[in-house]
Symmetry: C2
Subunit: 463 residues, 2 copies
């Protein structure tokens, strides 16, 4: 690797290459704090430098691992000593904003929050939002097709990208920086790079779609008497709020009770005796009509027996208080550690039976097991937190099998929004048929025949 | 081909195979009425039959052409005597509707309008809409990534598809019938088949995303004093209507005047002296608040000098009367025949200069030239109709060069929503870089190495 690193240093300069202790000092996993084990970290200043680096790596048969903000949850950033990390941390420019067309052109290393703030500066919004906004990068959001809390209204990252530029494994640059909502001139190549976790190319720049701001946020926490009422409520809110439904987050009783009454971390805004709680948001241009519509929809839901209790936030502080329950991951960790967390999706009509059966199965195997469920119901996405009293790898695998296996028959997914990385790689066949995995391998071979990009991530080595 | 057709007949039966006069009697192009020239038309009853047919064709090195509703505009359905047409016309089932999850599962040969009607039966909508709704099929909508009049609110066909199933060139079946909004379990394979015009696989089934109905439609035609005012209006409507902006269609004066005053086909609702006219629609749950918000937005636009005249539709008949001007393609044909029509997209800030320069260039070459422009401004999509007094192929090519060449520098597209097919294939390099076209060829080779699927469409034969 030394000869290669010398060639790379010649191209990217002193600021562009980290080796030795500078590599080990970098945490690569925000959960464990583990240091980076890669042979080197290359920090190109622009696309040309990155392309040159990839040409060198390609010629030297050198595998690389791409790093964005390192906020992923599936060990996508792990690198072995014989790998070189490519970090986009110096490519953070916001290159252009077109407020008329509603687009922003950026380098892939820019943090999501900076994009959100730059859009707001033009009285527009970039609607993707997730907890890691301050650290995660647009390139990482694209590579993992990030989701978050506004998917029900605005879609995932895939829907926010109009164009992008990527460097392929051989160092060639594919620039597809489309700025229009409509462009059917041949294959839509950007789709290849969105959600493929850096295994088909390295995203270097992107054109993002901006949206009008909807400043009025009406928020309520409601209690539902049954799962049937909960899904009826989702449908009715869709009908009555039209395009204004901005969030429909659900907490199973296990989750709501744990974080309020049981832990004492939050005063319960509603009694903890209902089986399901939904956090509902309506987005609008101004408060008066948005509130009127929202309150009317809630009143109809009462009349229809879909909810039997509700609290509406009347201030931003109250609104944040309701969200704080839903987002209190720390509270979950405190109560359930050692804990395994899962990010799955399945058709909504199948959810209740799946959750009930999983809990029964867990308790059968581990009588002290606890399971807590919340999620983005409208997106079909559940986050399941499970504690069985141990976190050793074998226990983990046993729990994983319990969680994932039933999804095959239901047409569910082992990853709703976190991706596959290394963590879920060996379960890919639960959610994907042999023909689908074969086609993924065909694509990987076509774009990266030497297997240099994020080696063995997403797809296991060929048998 | 005879031995192959015998094998196919054994598999699909009498109803599944048309030959001889039955083939020639089928129009393949709704514009010219030209008959089908293919060696045979195969009409499989289901995916299994189609897969068996493709295995036979693959073994015999037999190229095929896929047919949906044949409403395309770029000669994608043309077939030579040595090709076999695969028509999905017998695969028209609506297999399932899930009103809770908001999904519909269909076979690819079902007509768009049937899907729209089936959704309405469950108090939901399928939002893709275009003039050919009665004939065009979901498979064709997917293969061409169809657009239409609601893209500014709901996106193109790509955004309406949750999952699909496709038969590959070798007859293998890739079933990716995802039903959830979120699924990041590996590469999103459906994206390969959306918008690739049947050159990478034949779409056989799909899971479609349904949306809540927005029954209130407020519509206005407004006159703008300048292009700057027009784009200011687009921005302001975006801000003031939030997610309710359902259409923002623009007619240049040339278009509006021709179809009203000049031809006498429509009484002009507004004087014909303004340079730009916009047809604006606001979608809402109920009329009262939607109308109030819409009228307030129009009043603000007056105050800001963005519009200097407006008419708001107060009945469905008035609404249809306004849309009739915008959609009167027959009126254009009557006035401009022989006429060439174009479907392009370009960044909104570049539009005015592009249109002006194009008109000047046309008149310089053909002093009697007439050019009429309308389009989906919010999508960056213009439809340009040009008459220069002749329709011979050489004149057509000369006009095409005038229209397409300037798009390269502007980052525009030679096809916004119609696709490439055969008609635009030789101009692909105007909108796509050599690296992009090389990557398209890589995908084509990886999925269809023998080049059997829609041969020489989208991508010209290798040099």
């Amino acid at each position: 690797m030394d000869a290669l690193l010398k060639d790379i240093a010649d191209r990217v300069g002193r600021a562009g290459l980290l080796t030795g202790d500078d590599v080990a000092a970098r945490p690569v996993d925000w959960m464990t704090g583990a240091g980076c084990r890669a042979g080197a970290i290359v920090r190109p200043a622009d696309t040309d430098e990155l392309a040159a680096v990839m040409r060198l790596c390609h010629d030297a048969d050198q595998p690389v691992v791409t790093h964005g903000g390192l906020t992923g949850l599936v060990h996508g950033g792990e690198a072995a000593p014989d790998e070189v990390v490519i970090s986009l941390e110096r490519m953070t420019a916001i290159e252009a904003i077109d407020p008329v067309g509603g687009t922003m052109t950026v380098q892939a290393g820019v943090a999501l929050q900076r994009v959100q703030e730059a859009a707001a500066g033009h009285d527009l919004q970039f609607p993707l939002d997730l907890g890691a906004r301050g650290s995660c990068t647009i390139g990482g959001n694209i590579a993992t097709n990030a989701g978050g809390v506004r998917v029900i209204r605005y879609g995932m990252m895939r829907q926010q990208v109009l164009g992008l530029e990527a460097v392929l494994a051989d160092g060639s640059v594919v620039s597809s920086m489309n700025r229009m909502l409509k462009n059917n001139a041949g294959y839509d190549l950007k789709q290849l790079f969105i959600g493929s976790e850096g295994t088909l190319g390295i995203v270097t720049r992107a054109v993002l779609k901006l949206q009008p701001i909807l400043p009025s946020e009406q928020t309520a926490l409601v209690a539902c008497p049954s799962f049937e009422a909960l899904t009826g409520l989702l449908q009715q809110m869709g009908h009555q709020l039209g395009g204004a439904l901005g969030a429909f987050e659900v907490m199973w009783q296990s989750h709501y009770r744990l974080l309020t009454e049981e832990s004492g971390r939050h005063a319960p805004p509603l009694a903890t005796t209902s089986p399901y709680y939904a956090l509902i948001e309506s987005l609008g241009v101004e408060d008066e009509s948005n509130a009127a519509r929202f309150n009317q929809a809630l009143a109809s839901a009462f009349d229809a027996g879909l909810i039997h209790d509700a609290v509406v936030a009347h201030s931003n502080a109250q609104r944040q208080g309701l969200w704080a329950i839903r987002e209190d991951i720390e509270g979950l960790l405190e109560a359930l550690a050692p804990m395994f967390t899962f990010d799955i999706s399945l058709p909504i009509p199948a959810m209740q039976a799946y959750v009930d059966a999983l809990e029964t199965a867990l308790i059968q195997q581990w009588p002290q097991a606890r399971m807590v469920v919340f999620g983005h119901l409208g997106d079909g996405n559940l986050h399941v937190s499970i504690s069985v009293g141990s976190s050793d790898p074998e226990t983990r695998r046993a729990v994983e099998r319990r969680v994932y296996a039933p999804l095959a028959e239901l047409g569910g997914s082992i990853s709703a929004e976190h991706g596959i990385g290394l963590e879920k790689r060996d379960y890919l066949a639960v959610s994907r048929s042999p023909e689908e995995i074969a086609l993924m391998r065909t694509l990987k071979r076509a774009l990266d025949p030497q297997g240099l990009l994020n080696r063995h991530k997403v797809l296991a080595p060929d048998a």
